[in-house]
Symmetry: C2
Subunit: 638 residues, 2 copies
């Protein structure tokens, strides 16, 4: 399977399946209640069920449908989506407010506990859904409803006297308002996003004031979270370390980058760079996952990336892709954002789905021992109970499956970026098949022929071209290629412009022109920064954008006893295989150490080292053959 197969899987399987889940019609899954809540809110009667942010699950699904319809029309999906739209619009209150929890359960309690109640978070997702659905279908009904809601929110929050000087407990609406601004041209939406970003973490602290005002009531059994959990411990422009809840953090950073971009706000751009660097050069797993801690689903501290208990939530990976996409706009000539986007997409995001598209990881294990992981209290290790070794059908808190779906469905929006300063249209994430891209650069329709990520050959054929004069076309050369491209071809009369990180072509493109380049798909031995204790003295195997892992079922030796010497590394072979609907496996010689099993728990007997073989599979394809142990990092034999 290639990335476009996943996009098809989203349309054909995931979205119909998730619709059933949202309607509580999947027998083996936890009920969602999301549609039932909207139906009840529309009648202003009946129960509310699920978490307080349950509305966002339907919103993310609807957004994904909008993206999907923009690429490929699907009448069945469209009809389902129209039902959802009708429900949302019917659930809107007269003043524009949409939130099924407060409408049904506590109509008088709106905005009293912005820190914990996810009202602005759900609003953000509904706005994103409305924008995507409008762009995918041209239908304005939902967009109009969400503009009314955004107008209402704008009347509640803001610097003016009488308004709440507050900001969301869970960031999301910032980037959503920027999308709404882009599609409507209404500056007030951008201004409100800017306000939410600038007021965040200032003194007196809004959350602390609200806690006091409501007598310190809390919706959670735990104590109040520290302000850093919400990235509200200091003004965002002063933040240089990623802290707190990882999804909140990356959504905020994406919103910051949006606002910085539209306002050309240099101070905010600097803050975005600092946070980007912290996330991606000090707090990111090799799979592109972020947020190592279960408690608080949070970032911890620089270089602390424990593999065994990694939280690595799917939503945080999705949010990191959002952040990367926006950093690309701010720093257009740098290929690093595409590198991180690709790392996260091909490893963390894809691994969150089962091959059949109907099972999901909420957290993405970076190592898994099935005898101790993912067990209920009283079995296994309770510190690893969140580390599931088998994907689940659905979740009570189902933020992740529709989140990954909406990202995949919208992948064409991540595929290219336009570097206005240098007049370069940059092809960042290679998508097999045809795509049309339009923007300030003009428009271009092209087809990508490639077996990427299995093969490094990428051929781009221009199908139709109406680019503005002097706009170059560039293909990202991933950092792992170390600038090496082979077997290249350019259209007649084209020249290659030397530029780091990109294969940049200057040409008067016409239909039929082909740009070809081949990336080196050698197996790479990857090591970490010396401060990363969890991976110290270990190596990971990578090939192209894919991180590899060992599954116990393919290996005769317990994974934690395997070692690779330098000579072993030289024996590694890549081999095509039909497993998982197509894959490339790695095999090679390894060493293994062994201590005697009959000498007791602690003993003085020597360890013996012998030779063995190993097989590695792409990380994103793991756990598709039943329960087994999994490890990415392999001990290096020095």
């Amino acid at each position: 399977m290639q990335i476009d197969d996943y996009i098809t899987l989203v349309r054909q399987d995931m979205l119909p399946f998730q619709w059933e889940a949202l309607n509580d019609r999947v027998a083996e899954a936890e009920p969602s209640y999301s549609i039932a809540n909207f139906r009840n809110a529309a009648c202003k009667t009946g129960d509310y069920c699920g978490t307080i942010w349950q509305d966002s699950d339907m919103a993310k699904w609807l957004e994904a449908v909008g993206h999907s319809l923009a690429c490929v029309w699907d009448e069945d999906l469209y009809r389902k989506a129209e039902q959802a739209v009708e429900l949302i619009v019917a659930a809107q209150d007269e003043d524009g407010y949409i939130n099924t929890y407060f409408t049904l359960k506590e109509p008088g309690e709106r905005w009293h506990n912005v820190e914990q109640c996810h009202e602005l978070y759900c609003a953000g997702h509904l706005i994103e859904a409305a924008v995507a659905y409008f762009l995918g279908t041209g239908r304005r009904k939902l967009l109009a409803a969400l503009c009314r809601y955004a107008d209402y929110i704008d009347s509640v929050f803001g610097p003016e006297e009488g308004k709440l000087h507050g900001y969301p407990g869970h960031e999301e609406i910032e980037l959503a308002l920027c999308k709404l601004y882009r599609v409507t041209g209404e500056k007030r939406y951008l201004k409100l996003a800017e306000y939410f970003i600038d007021i965040r973490g200032t003194e007196p602290n809004f959350f602390l004031e609200q806690r006091k005002a409501r007598g310190f009531t809390t919706r959670w059994p735990d104590d109040f979270m520290p302000l850093s959990y919400f990235q509200a411990h200091k003004p965002v422009r002063e933040q240089a370390e990623a802290v707190g809840h990882a999804v909140r953090a990356v959504y905020l950073y994406a919103g910051m980058a949006d606002v910085a971009h539209y306002n050309r706000d240099e101070a905010l751009i600097r803050a975005c760079h600092a946070l980007w660097n912290d996330v991606t050069t000090r707090q990111m797993y090799i799979t592109g996952a972020v947020g190592s801690a279960l408690k608080g689903e949070a970032f911890t501290v620089d270089y602390h990336l424990p593999n065994d208990r990694a939280y690595a939530e799917t939503c945080a990976a999705v949010g990191l892709v959002f952040f990367a996409r926006r950093m690309m706009e701010l720093d257009a000539a740098n290929s690093i954002y595409g590198d991180v986007m690709e790392r996260t997409l091909y490893n963390s995001v894809l691994s969150s789905f089962g091959l059949e598209g109907r099972s999901f990881f909420y957290t993405n294990p970076q190592e898994a021992y099935h005898g101790v992981c993912g067990k209920p209290m009283g079995e296994g290790d309770p510190a690893l109970s969140h580390v599931k070794v088998i994907r689940q059908k659905w979740y009570g808190c189902a933020c992740c499956p529709p989140n990954a779906a909406r990202l995949l469905a919208s992948l064409q929006q991540y595929s290219v970026s336009f570097d206005e300063k240098r007049d370069v249209l940059r092809y960042q994430v290679f998508l097999p098949g045809e795509q049309t891209q339009e923007g300030a650069f003009g428009s271009i329709r092209f087809r990508t022929d490639t077996h990427y990520p299995w093969d490094g050959r990428i051929a781009v054929t221009v199908l139709a071209c109406d680019l503005k004069p002097d706009v170059d076309f560039a293909l990202r050369i991933p950092a792992w290629a170390k600038g090496i491209v082979t077997d290249t071809a350019l259209p007649e009369g084209a020249v290659r412009v030397v530029e780091e990180g990109f294969f940049r072509v200057r040409c008067a493109f016409k239909p039929g022109d082909v740009i070809l380049l081949t990336l080196p798909m050698t197996v790479r031995i990857t090591r970490t920064h010396p401060a990363v204790r969890a991976d110290a003295g270990m190596v990971a195997l990578e090939r192209g954008p894919l991180v590899y892992c060992l599954e116990q079922r393919d290996n005769p030796t317990q994974l934690y006893r395997l070692m690779l010497s330098k000579a072993d590394m030289d024996t590694i072979q890549a081999r095509k295989d039909d497993t998982f609907g197509g894959t490339v496996m790695l095999t090679g010689q390894a060493h293994a150490f062994q201590t005697p099993g009959d000498a007791g728990l602690y003993h003085g007997q020597a360890a013996v080292v012998g030779k063995t073989q190993f097989t590695a599979i792409p990380y994103f394809q793991w756990s598709n053959r039943g329960e087994t142990d999994m490890q990415i990092w392999i001990r290096e034999q020095f």
Copy 2:
């Protein structure tokens, strides 16, 4: 410092300090409330503060005083203890019941939630205190009060109709009732202990029945614990795996071994052996600590012994010593119980105290990185917040400090055991100084001259001897000595009887006789069973009964980058040092691997291996020089 110095420290520093803590007079410590609660209960008025088991803190302290007074009279301690006795007796209800929580807060709620309310647990500790205080002082007042309480409990629990067919939520009273039986000769106490053990885990389950009867009210914010948490998932005779809360478990096993011993109950003896084997050959850290999981303070599964997040509660180590002492009675010719006792005592129990005797570890880290451990939410790694790198002054739940104190104060009771079957008095735990031992074997007074554990030379001089005819005297030869003893000497006319695990001497002992043996204090390289993933490919250093560790402050290279090759291991030297009031440090050559710090988080650059030096200190002396990183296990270079 040697073990007898610790016993002196308990008497001179810990017990007076803990008395201040129990009286809430230690400024920097969390209040105990324990004495205030007794004072209020005596007047039947005022508040109750602290956990529901707060009474046990004072009971453990009083028990420790009893043990201490049995060895060395201390008028000041005695006067303090008399105040405690008066308070306890005054707090006793007319029917014999003693529990300050229920007396003050919920007098009508006795025994309604035996699973969660610790009534029988506190009763057990008060009984142990009364027995020890009687044996140490000859004073009967507290003993009489606790006999009344035990009689009352016997009227509440038992197989007869109208009684509760139940057992404690936290085991402890079983072993306490056996002590009370031993000192009073009253068989009803033994029978009640036996009842608590035999009814445990039978159907219908008592805890489940009580939950139902009280409408599933719970005292804890968490859900109900699984029955395995209380070792109540099946009858104890059918249990072969240590599960659930570790302190509960080892206290139960100790009580089982007591009852098995008194009743010569072969089926129960078999269960004790199975559980002993599981705990000590599959679930024990190298320091003798048990209970790896924070959540539930619990055992996990066989061979799962993560170092970084080890819970390893002090109380569980203390309880393992209790269990070992009783297994010694059941299986008298086997030296393994003394080995485990010594491992736990010299490493886990001693490490729980600061050198000054006034700071304490509740959990005992098996590895500690101060940048991520022991931090509040929002700093460091929340999965390691329980891993304190500095001992605290006191705890709100202060079960551990007085528990370790009572063990050390009673160490002479762990020093020898009598093997009735073979007529051998076995010297199991070497205690420098004089001791008198009396029992079925007669009596003997002897002095031990030794610098153990720093030095392997142990000289036992008989001071007075009234042993029964044909009773041999044997010194345990620890398993780590591999049967090698050198520089031995026997009294004139004595012969050594060949016996595995002991240096057994047959002699008509008379005052002035000296038995001398020298144990080989070489540095040992220890590895684990191959199923222990956490220590795979690692070595630990041991010398005599001491496990060693690395503190970062003594080592120029980050601990996790250190490696020991076989050649490095041959360079290790033991060196006497004055640090910590006397120690033996280990130094030697090591290797270290290094990856470049400027190549990014993930990179393709090679690791470089170089030579370095390392210094190790005894584990029990760690964290006495401020915050630093600590590691026991060192990577082996293959």
